[in-house]
Symmetry: D2
Subunit: 344 residues, 4 copies
Amino acid sequence: MISFTCDYTEGAHPAILEALQRTNLDQQPGYGADCYTAAARARIREACACPGADVYLLIGGTQTNSTVIATMLRDYQGVVAAQTGHIAVHEAGAVEYTGHKVLTLPQREGKISARDLETYLEGFYADGSYDHMVFPGMVYISFPTEYGTLYSKAELKAVKTVCEAYKLPFFVDGARLGYGLMSPDCDITLQELSGLCDVFTIGGTKVGALCGEAVVFPAGNAPEHFFTMVKQHGALLAKGRLPGVQFETLFTDGLYFSIARNAIDRAMELKALFVSRGYELFLDSPTNQQFILLTEAAAKALDGQVAYEVWERLPDGRAVTRFATSWATTREQINTLASLLPTA
Amino acid sequence: MISFTCDYTEGAHPAILEALQRTNLDQQPGYGADCYTAAARARIREACACPGADVYLLIGGTQTNSTVIATMLRDYQGVVAAQTGHIAVHEAGAVEYTGHKVLTLPQREGKISARDLETYLEGFYADGSYDHMVFPGMVYISFPTEYGTLYSKAELKAVKTVCEAYKLPFFVDGARLGYGLMSPDCDITLQELSGLCDVFTIGGTKVGALCGEAVVFPAGNAPEHFFTMVKQHGALLAKGRLPGVQFETLFTDGLYFSIARNAIDRAMELKALFVSRGYELFLDSPTNQQFILLTEAAAKALDGQVAYEVWERLPDGRAVTRFATSWATTREQINTLASLLPTA
Amino acid sequence: MISFTCDYTEGAHPAILEALQRTNLDQQPGYGADCYTAAARARIREACACPGADVYLLIGGTQTNSTVIATMLRDYQGVVAAQTGHIAVHEAGAVEYTGHKVLTLPQREGKISARDLETYLEGFYADGSYDHMVFPGMVYISFPTEYGTLYSKAELKAVKTVCEAYKLPFFVDGARLGYGLMSPDCDITLQELSGLCDVFTIGGTKVGALCGEAVVFPAGNAPEHFFTMVKQHGALLAKGRLPGVQFETLFTDGLYFSIARNAIDRAMELKALFVSRGYELFLDSPTNQQFILLTEAAAKALDGQVAYEVWERLPDGRAVTRFATSWATTREQINTLASLLPTA
Amino acid sequence: MISFTCDYTEGAHPAILEALQRTNLDQQPGYGADCYTAAARARIREACACPGADVYLLIGGTQTNSTVIATMLRDYQGVVAAQTGHIAVHEAGAVEYTGHKVLTLPQREGKISARDLETYLEGFYADGSYDHMVFPGMVYISFPTEYGTLYSKAELKAVKTVCEAYKLPFFVDGARLGYGLMSPDCDITLQELSGLCDVFTIGGTKVGALCGEAVVFPAGNAPEHFFTMVKQHGALLAKGRLPGVQFETLFTDGLYFSIARNAIDRAMELKALFVSRGYELFLDSPTNQQFILLTEAAAKALDGQVAYEVWERLPDGRAVTRFATSWATTREQINTLASLLPTA
């Protein structure tokens, strides 16, 4: 049984396990004061070309999003996101649990537009009763989105421009950042992204780590006492070395990027396979999540041998499915899929 | 440089790293639906002799405490704890952040007494204005305590009896549970403890794991939709296999207990060493945290070679210090300390 | 200058001021234990034909909504409301501030439909990832709605039926309840409403009182320790006599209903006036809020003499405006408006 | 039956009812934009000699405290208060409900000392683990205290000096402010108090109003968007005229002070009465709350004719009781008490 259900089905990249092994008995202080976290921070700052960046290593995506959002917002503010944004839908209300509303905008293939954002903001301040409403306090996007799609550099700049006009911090959730940056369709670098947003995350969990999300405040603009608030959110690890060793490894010799590239290569092969066999795409994703309209015959052919995620069943018998590749996906797995997949 | 500063200075027990390695590429579903989490749950249930227990694997101590407490309390309730309880002092207000007050009781060597608890509860309900106050909704203790001390079975039963009389769930924070259970002074087993409380945790982080705290509801009494609330608290790991593999390993062949025993053996050697050299104990701890009144001369002698934690400086020049051993502490480390330590 | 901007431009009905005067120096206990609150409760229970109802008197609308919602939901739950619902838009995120998401449904003239509710609930539980999402925990509607519209008895029953199927409490926000019940289009009585929902409010602020919203749990189903949680929400008045005297007065000899009727009669006259002069209605409201498409000429004619609320300016120069009548609106005020209003 | 149980047993001062009557049908905008609120603000600013002060009119004490505290603290901060402070004990955890810890200091007769505050703050920042703890973010005192006692000007200055050294806002809860300022023992004026703290409240509820607490930020230093956060806390009144008219009245011709003076005069008579009859004082209060050790014989003699509050029963049969006078207490009531009270 091969699984394409998600990009966190395996453990960690072997280099990470090796590094954990190698450093295991080295005695280090806790809570991120270890030398590995220091090294990870240095390498992330270097990769982002932001020598003054504040970098924190947290554990999981929902935790990271709610901690960043809650600590950057004031009580009267909410966070603006796409209606399909992860924080709006699939985080069990973690943002609201911290007291803040998620203010949703329309989306197209998981993306918001600068124009819709501006329209909303203009409308907000034009409304005579806005001080009875939740103020927009931050803009959140995911890159890639929940649909695998990417913002172009121009789109990001346009969103950033609106954010600046309204003095809103711009937060880029990079739970799958590597898979975005390594996409052939991506026209932006990590350095450029760092210059375009006020805070972003570098997802480790889905890109080769056992766990871990790096939070980067490119301008050294972490909220005051962020460390204490990370603890308050239950997001501070006693053994800070665990994400430290992992991110140090991922950002040594470009490992993060090369393994992300593998996922993209496999995803493009997978997409090409489906297209060549006559399947329709639900949308044309340039990253590691591929959305296929799978026929009943294909479902039957793959049953018990290939796993994937079903998002929705259509009236015509087909299903909207997601096939995700990852750093760990092999060409053999794609070949096995090819050997099983019937023509649509 | 040898460090006795805390019990989380190393990585993980080698068997855990080996297990992570061995299982690494096995594709598993996320969020705790993996086979390793299932196995860990089964073994923990067996070790507790609670076949119907609900077992959840979370990541860190503060996170676990605040999640358990917030999900078991109603809005009008607070949690009762010792003034020195970890949740009352060193968790950055994580419990209050969820909206609940920590109601503190006096402590002796880190412990509350059933009598003080009862006095407080009687007084609360005798106060005509109690419905203007925060209701006690749960009793929290740590075992061992923040001072390394242990409750006897009789003391636990007495607290439990009071809890039952007032229908209060009894929560035992076992961040260092192994070090408690393996102490020569401990007169209670894991099975007995499971029968005496309503929820407890089995700390992994400080007892051989990279991270991970198991939450056990012995009577299958987890709050409804606990999974969703774990997610809401940012405490749900995508790769549930990470704590799963670790707890499965720790609860195979009694590894958790044997490595905890190592820490206790080393701690007793360390204590004996200090006592034999004429040092006064701040208090006589039966577990892996030892509290020594260290002289200035000793501090000088150890400087740069042995690290420990300073809690408080006394007017006479001595310092209250904590020396913690762990699963990883070796006899050689104790010997080195012995070779450096002057007579008091 | 006459104002139709809202239904809280005046103080209180004279009978209320008279009652405050009459009872003023009578010494009474605080926090709702006074005899006037007791009398108010008794009369509200009688008016609702719910002898076992729990009745609490709070102060303001947002406060009441967030207190009721937060105390009836569990942490993993949100409240379902129309996208235009007051709690979703105009309460400054008060519900989210208590940690709960407002889950919005499409609306038509401010109303949700039982069908949309059911579709949402079916979809929620059909989604394989629902335990990563906020659970629907309660359904909120306003009666009348923010657009002045009313649910018919059949519509309310249909919503209630869906709520029962999913075990969701049904909350009716009656900030303008009197104006709903006294509408000629209303086909439900207060007693019938009490039997159709699990909690509702009787707005005093907008219907003749200085302040005050009565919360009614018809089946005596107030959350445990609701009193303490009301205090925790800052919603407990030391001088409970203030809402007590007011609601006792309002529910003596049907005053609440007769003064609400005045607002409706004036609103119908106002609507008839606009229609007879050729103005288009934005929507045909059967209650005290009337929505008129006002021409520029009319705006100029009324300028400085008649105040109303502008909701939106249309490209054709007209504006969507709200004219609200109240218990205090007089026939003279309508006549003055008539004397000023040009033909459209 | 005469009641001395508290200072909120009557309605409002007649001048307030008269003003409500007089202004009743004047149409005014809602939410504090009415002319009466404007006038009240102007008069309060004048009385405080703070022309630039921000003044907001809220409804109740707990509400006001939790709103002020929550909006002035950052997430990582708690509020420092006496162990007996109202916010620490009798507000049902309203502060914690907003996510903030109440950090308690020892008290003497309800008061904290600048020395204890400084010791705590020094200790906090000297503790190596302070960034795992809740940061002190504000200092709260009540004036008068819950025990009726007063801080001297020198004591207030000393607390303020410590606050300034640590950049902590200093909040004075004046729920009974009038009764403090009018005490013969008070050596500070309202103007001086305004210069010594960063925010304070002027209690209306206990000093002649039906409801209402004025929040004063003497330096115009209200938190940004305080209005919206007041709404979010459920503390914004639609009919802002209600507290507006009341505070305008109270601050016209010194009414607030003269009626507070009545309470003090009656309290001093009451205290003299008890002392002259041989009763011991629990503590010697200079304000309107008097604490008497009442004998069983006295309790019997007053039974059914005079009401008061029992705080605690002593082993010797006596009870710690509170007798509160107010703006409404008459000399006749004191005389009646005198006629009933036996010699101790």
